[in-house]
């Protein structure tokens, strides 16, 4: 038998005490494990939310949303400035205009104004850019049937959907736009093409210029299918707005850098821009997860500290109780290291037995505890998010509003919050067992070595005096 084995046997010298110690420690270790499992689950969910959010940041001129507000548009030199920032992978510029009779287009909008459009006919521009205009040939607004303007988006690349607020863009006939062309060409939304009998190769007039239709697209929503896409340089030239930009969609090189890029843009561009990242839209969801994470982190630390203190006090009590025995061991030739080794192995035995019981407790109670934490956070977050949503949309993407079905930022927040907190299950994987075991060993070593070291340092005669 050596010091280690003697320590293990010593752990069973008093069965009542051993049972009590194991139960108390197991509760602390179980609680720590529950918090560790919850922390891992929440961290994984935060990572997945961040990954699902994407890496894009929308930069718009300050005070301007679509065709509302006022101020100065951005310029290509602003885009160059943003492009040069660290962690910026790409910058998509967009320029948007509206075709009304003022711009002398032959096109008729494919969207029926309906009661919403009629209501806004007298308050131009107050509803996401739904400014009314009489149809070609009508004289004024009195009693005439109103039509909506036709939205035209200037794009750098028709494969880049983010700047268009579209989920998809299928070319149903003809071909797409070449990214570098300055020709007077356009891709026409399927509904607008049907309304105006347009096909690939046909032409229409806009900005007093003949525009050739190169293709028809389907975006999956009526709003975008009633609009036009033109090369951005062509559109800016025709609208006499060369070099101007309605907005930029900046892509960061990783989701982890979205916040850093957002901060850099705000710092570099100052008050001339409004910067909105998708990270902002889900910050409510993330904040609730971060709240749960904080609770679990503090609880984990508390559980570990309490386990350490419990073990420390128990070992202190045991060491003091065996003070005379330690003196005898020293008298017959035991070194301080051997005495410490004996007590550490005794402490390890307590801890490992408690860890086994604690792991079972952790398994059993991790999901119920996590559910309590999540439910508490979920109800608070949903209330906050719904409050924000009721406060009204804060502006849509370029073009005068969000596409139907996409919802506003408020709805996205509610959705993101709910999806971030739903189905959050605690799973025990090998990392938890490894970390848990390491923490338990650390607790055992710290909890026992200090009292053992203290007693091992004193001279045998003092230890044997029993005082």
């Amino acid at each position: 038998m050596d010091s280690f084995t003697r320590g293990v046997r010593n752990a069973f010298r008093n069965y009542i005490r051993t049972t009590s110690v194991v139960i108390i420690l197991a509760i602390s270790i179980g609680l720590a494990l529950i918090m560790l499992i919850s922390l891992f689950a929440v961290n994984d969910r935060i990572d997945s939310v961040r990954a699902s959010v994407g890496t894009t940041i929308t930069v718009a001129p300050a005070g301007i949303r679509g065709f509302q507000g006022g101020g100065e548009l951005l310029t290509e030199s602003d885009a160059d400035t943003v492009s040069s920032l660290d962690h910026v992978a790409s910058v998509e510029q967009s320029f948007t205009s509206r075709l009304t009779t003022d711009t002398d287009t032959t096109l008729q909008s494919a969207i029926d104004p309906g009661s919403f459009g009629q209501q806004n006919s007298g308050s131009s521009g107050q509803s996401g850019g739904a400014q009314m205009s009489p149809p070609p040939g009508a004289s004024g607004m009195g009693g005439a049937t109103m039509t909506l303007p036709v939205m035209v988006n200037g794009v750098q690349d028709n494969a880049s959907l983010q700047s268009l607020g579209m989920d998809k863009l299928d070319i149903v006939s003809g071909e797409g736009l070449a990214s570098t062309t300055e020709d007077n060409v356009a891709l026409v939304g399927s509904q607008l093409a049907t309304k105006n009998n347009l096909q690939p190769g046909s032409t229409f007039t806009a900005f007093d210029t003949q525009i050739k239709v190169v293709g028809i697209f389907d975006s999956g929503n009526q709003f975008s299918n009633s609009s036009l896409l033109m090369p951005i340089d062509t559109l800016r030239k025709l609208a006499s707005s060369e070099g101007q930009i309605n907005s930029m969609v900046v892509t960061a090189d990783s989701s982890a850098n979205v916040q850093a890029v957002t901060d850099s843009i705000k710092s570099e561009m100052g008050s001339k821009v409004d910067v909105v990242s998708q990270l902002d839209a889900t910050s409510q969801a993330l904040s609730s997860l971060e709240g749960v994470k904080s609770i679990t982190r503090y609880s984990l630390a508390g559980a570990l500290i309490s386990a350490s203190v419990i073990l420390f006090l128990i070992m202190l009590m045991i060491v003091r109780e065996r003070r005379q025995e330690i003196g005898v061991l020293k008298a017959i030739g035991a070194s301080n290291v051997k005495i410490m080794k004996q007590f550490i192995s005794e402490s390890l035995t307590f801890t490992l037995m408690s860890a086994v019981v604690g792991t079972v407790l952790g398994f059993a109670f991790s999901n119920p505890v996590l559910n309590i934490l999540i439910n508490s956070s979920s109800s608070q977050t949903t209330q906050v998010a719904q409050g924000a949503f009721r406060g009204g949309p804060q502006g849509g993407p370029p073009g005068g509003g969000a596409p139907p079905g996409a919802g506003g930022p408020g709805r996205q927040v509610v959705s993101a919050s709910q999806s971030a907190l739903e189905n959050l299950n605690a799973v025990l994987d090998y990392r938890l067992l490894v970390y848990g075991l390491m923490a338990a060993l650390l607790i055992a070593v710290i909890g026992s070595s200090i009292p053992a070291w203290t007693i091992a340092r004193i001279r045998p005669a003092e230890a044997m005096s029993g005082e």
Partner: protein, 228 residues
């Protein structure tokens, strides 16, 4: 030979400094059985703890074959206690959850002896002190006082010490058992050529000792009448 010269051990108490051992000189030849006789609190146990390097003196020296034990560092003191000294205590001081055999194996474990070897020697030692068979596997609580003290003596002999320090070895035993224990120690000192210094106030021990030191208030009042 062991030789103490001017040993002093002082303790601080609430009422001031007390000299438990006060300028003690002694000299003991190898293989002798020496008794320290005195009343409780006379300083016997304190002197034994100085000789066994369980505590450090405030002054003086203690030589074992020309090595001054009072000048050894902690590491060498552990080696001295392990290899050169065996202790026998009044209350036996056995580890309660170890068997008699395992208790005797302890000092040999500390000296690094292989397990099988120390097991064999421990069994031999227990047989030598009169504990055979299943008693070797018993824990101290299942042995009588005399048997426990025999285990203590076997443990003290484990590493072939040149000095055995016995502190009131018969203090918790009846007179007949005590006499047997003293006889055992006496025989061992002769057969193993081990020096034995026993602290006692049992006058019956005197008859079997080679030399008796009488101590009072930390000083020898009679330092070395040959008794046997």
């Amino acid at each position: 030979m062991i030789k103490a010269d001017g040993l002093v051990k002082e303790f601080m108490t609430a009422s001031g400094s007390v000299k438990a051992v006060d300028d003690i000189d002694m000299q003991v030849e190898d293989g002798k059985f020496v008794a320290l006789v005195g009343e409780s609190g006379s300083g016997k146990s304190t002197l034994l703890s100085l000789l066994g390097a369980l505590s450090k003196p405030n002054a003086g020296s203690f030589l074992v074959d020309d090595t001054d034990i009072t000048r050894l560092n902690d590491h060498d003191l552990i080696r001295y206690r392990r290899d050169s000294v065996g202790f026998v205590f009044q209350n036996y001081s056995l580890v309660p959850n170890l068997s008699a055999l395992e208790n005797v194996m302890l000092p040999m474990e500390f000296s690094g002896m292989p397990r099988e070897e120390r097991k064999k020697r421990a069994a031999e030692l227990l047989s030598q002190v009169g504990l055979d068979g299943d008693k070797q596997a018993r824990k101290p609580a299942r042995l009588s006082g005399g048997e426990q003290q025999r285990v203590g003596i076997a443990r003290a002999l484990a590493n072939h010490p040149r000095l055995i320090l016995a502190d009131e070895p018969t203090g918790n035993l009846d007179s007949k058992t005590g006499q047997n224990i003293i006889t055992l120690l006496r025989e061992l000192s002769r057969s193993e050529n081990t020096t034995i210094v026993a602290a006692t106030h049992d006058l019956s021990i005197e008859e079997q000792c080679d030399r008796i030191y009488r101590i009072r208030d930390g000083k020898f009042i009679d330092n070395g009448d040959d008794a046997a």
